[in-house]
């Protein structure tokens, strides 16, 4: 028998406001993306042309296939650019609002920092800092809960990957001091 009288309720105190102003429109982002893809197509196409994009005695040269793919990518991006520019006259929706942008950055920046720290402190120390910091500062979760969760999660990852499955992760000075 179902117990539907029981409810699960999870609140989100930091939810983005519905009336937050738009930072950038989808149309503008589409134009920028198409321009970037066009630049990528030109760069890769030029490199493949340099590598050799024609036919020699042994068959197609190494750059042959990717060169024509660059042409297709360039064509698609150019078409997308024209479509986006024409559609710009009509109102295009918001790509991200200010409140949403803040929340995205609240994940992205710690992730970026985590990648940087992994390089110098090793993956496990960086993971501990990311989880504890994120729970405490973004989620406003009690310090002891944040530290405990971060410690247990990192320890489980270490035991699972480094010990049980022998998948060696990047290490830093702490692991070196502990002889690993």
């Amino acid at each position: 028998m179902s117990q539907t009288d029981l409810e699960i309720v999870v609140d989100d105190p930091t939810a983005p406001e519905d009336d937050s102003p738009s930072v950038v429109s989808s149309g503008t982002v589409e134009i920028v993306v198409c321009l970037l893809l066009l630049a990528l197509a030109v760069t890769l196409g030029t490199d493949n042309w340099r590598t050799g994009a024609s036919w020699d005695a042994t068959g197609p040269e190494p750059g042959y296939f990717p060169f024509y793919l660059s042409v297709i990518l360039g064509g698609g991006s150019l078409y997308g650019l024209v479509v986006a520019l024409l559609a710009r006259r009509a109102s295009s929706g918001s790509f991200v609002t200010r409140a949403q942008g803040r929340r995205v950055l609240a994940v992205f920046l710690p992730t970026l920092l985590f990648c940087l720290l992994t390089q110098f402190l090793g993956l496990y120390v960086a993971s501990f800092l990311l989880i504890a910091g994120f729970m405490r500062f973004v989620g406003k979760i009690a310090l002891w809960k944040s530290l405990l969760t971060a410690f247990f999660f990192t320890a489980i990852m270490f035991v699972t990957f480094d010990i049980a499955f022998d998948v060696i992760m990047p290490k830093g000075p702490l692991e070196a001091a502990l002889g690993r």
């Binding site: 179902s2 117990q3 539907t4 029981l6 409810e7 699960i8 999870v10 989100d12 989808s26 982002v29 993306v33 893809l37 890769l44 490199d47 493949n48 590598t51 042994t58 068959g59 197609p60 190494p62 750059g63 296939f65 990717p66 793919l69 660059s70 990518l73 698609g76 991006s77 078409y79 997308g80 479509v83 790509f95 991200v96 949403q100 995205v104 994940v107 992205f108 710690p110 992730t111 970026l112 985590f114 990648c115 992994t118 390089q119 993956l123 993971s127 990311l130 989880i131 994120f134 729970m135 989620g139 406003k140 969760t149 990852m157 990957f161 499955f165 998948v167 060696i168 992760m169 990047p170």
Partner: protein, 508 residues
């Protein structure tokens, strides 16, 4: 009958305590990733892939495929109890599943969802059992032109039948194919598009790309939204299960129709999302009282779940038989096979019989175990959603980084993962589909090799792709599918078809 004997052999390979335990672990992890917001089948499989690196290929693929089944099951829990589709293919399940939960019939809706998932998967696995060996033995006659034609057919069907703007699918696919070409050219040994960077010599591993595209980008997208939820808790009793099962024969037409739709859209790269909507819409169209749909009708749960699971499972058929995945997740499983040096395609059935039939047997067993597991553990998995997202999000980020690093033991791949995370976030928001990108990234080198070998064999003429009836038919079909929207429009003007209707479209 040969297939039946080989399947029994597969069960013999599979039925060890170790493999069954791994199957259970895979299913639990799968349901977990299916339930959690910000995770799903494709990234769940990609992130957990490193766990399997030290296993033998059979154990590894059994665990990975069980993660996949588990994620398929898990999606229904949040759809029905919280009106939040854990996966895009669970959207149609919310239409009637959530109203059922509101009426106090959550247990009934969940039982219906899990049972129909099981039925859909079972039909697809039966199809794989009997059809895959036939297709693979036929495909043994294929040469490079035939293989290239099949790859072309896959790519063209994504462009022609996709729901997104055509140029966006073309951009996604050509970008994936280009990135697949970075590094050492497999034919000549020359370096391409590396720009002197030693890190790019290895090329871009598609699993790293997938972890970024699906894992990191999904976290960013999930954070954007309001993460508050209010829903029902439910547990399922044996009485409810038996009562739903007793009524199953009444819905045999819906179940069979949805299974057929699912299998069809899984084999052609239609996808589970299109299958679930098509299954739901047809059930509604053929119902005596279509207006009762959306108000808590059990058929509204049976139809999309059966179709989605039949589609998700049958997407493995072209992967096993031809080496061409029918979905994003199948592409990731294919990547997993390559990690262990297995080459999916027709030769797999000849060279690695134990592996293939062990995998097919695991599909049967995994679904049975998954059904029992999910029916008995719903309250536990539903309560996972009580964990604040601020705790879940950094753990997923760490798991993604571990997955990305472990594939090639390269710090550069963690940065690459982050880069693909941004690309995935932006692409998803402006409607550039990611499935063709993934497919192109995994098939890029094979497609290029097949093309170059065909061209070398023919002395450089494209006529090789029409050199015999088989290759000519596949190539022509590919071109027809590429220009299908134009052809459909012309036929519609002539009054021959109902052009403009949303028929047979692919949601990538």
């Amino acid at each position: 009958m040969e297939a039946f004997g080989l399947l029994l052999h597969g069960f013999a390979v599979l039925l060890t305590w170790k493999t069954v335990l791994l199957m259970m672990v895979g299913l639990v992890l799968g349901i977990f990733v299916g339930v959690l917001p910000g995770l799903g089948g494709p990234n769940g499989v990609a992130i957990l892939l490193p766990l399997t690196f030290t296993m033998d290929p059979t154990s590894a693929i059994v665990m990975l495929s069980c993660i996949y089944w588990g994620a398929l099951f898990g999606g229904a829990i949040t759809s029905i109890l919280f009106n939040i589709p854990g996966e895009a293919w669970s959207v149609a399940t919310t239409f009637d599943g959530y109203p059922m939960a509101q009426q106090g019939r959550a247990a009934e809706a969940l039982t219906a969802a899990f049972t129909s998932s099981f039925i859909g998967s079972l039909v697809a696995v039966l199809l794989i059992t009997f059809l895959a060996p036939m297709i693979s033995s036929f495909a043994l006659k294929f040469g490079p032109p035939e293989f290239f034609a099949v790859y072309l057919l896959t790519f063209c069907s994504f462009v022609g039948l996709g729901r997104e703007a055509k140029h966006k699918t073309v951009i996604s696919m050509s970008l994936g194919l280009l990135l697949a070409g970075i590094g050492m050219d497999t034919v000549s040994g020359n370096l391409r598009m590396t720009f002197g960077s030693p890190e790019l010599l290895r090329g871009i591993n598609f699993l790293v790309a997938v972890i970024g595209l699906f894992g990191i980008s999904e976290i960013l997208l999930t954070m954007e939204e309001r993460l508050a939820l209010r829903g029902h808790a439910a547990s399922i009793s044996l009485r409810v299960v038996l009562s739903v099962w007793k009524d199953l024969p009444k819905y045999w037409v819906t179940l069979l129709r949805s299974s057929f739709i699912g299998c069809w859209l899984g084999i052609t790269p239609g996808g589970a999302i299109a299958a679930s909507f098509m299954g739901y819409n047809l059930a509604k169209r053929f119902a005596k009282d279509p207006e009762s749909f959306g108000k808590g009708r059990i058929e509204g749960v049976f139809a999309p779940e059966t179709a989605a699971h039949a589609s998700g499972t049958s997407a493995l058929l072209p992967m096993l038989a031809l080496g061409i995945p029918g979905s994003g997740t199948a592409a990731i499983l294919l990547g997993g096979l390559m990690v262990w040096g297995l080459n999916p395609g027709p030769l797999l059935f000849v060279e690695h019989k134990d592996f293939v039939w062990g995998l097919i047997a695991s599909m049967y067993l995994g679904n049975v175990v998954g059904l029992v597991l999910v029916l008995t553990t719903v309250p536990i998995f539903a309560s996972i959603l009580r964990v604040p997202f601020a705790a879940v999000a950094p753990m997923i980020v760490v798991s993604c980084a571990i997955g990305a690093y472990a594939i090639q033991n390269a710090m550069f791949d963690i940065w690459l993962m982050l880069g693909f995370g941004i690309v995935g976030y932006v692409f998803k928001k402006i409607g550039i589909p990611l499935a063709p990108f993934t497919l192109a990234l995994v098939l890029g080198n094979r497609a290029e090799d097949a093309f170059r070998l065909s061209m070398i064999g023919s002395g450089g003429t494209l006529k090789v792709f029409w050199s015999n009836g088989l290759v000519g038919s596949i190539t022509t079909l590919a071109i027809v599918l590429l220009f299908w929207p134009v052809i459909d429009g012309l036929l519609g003007r002539l009054g021959w078809t109902g052009a403009g209707h949303n028929r047979g479209t692919i949601k990538n």
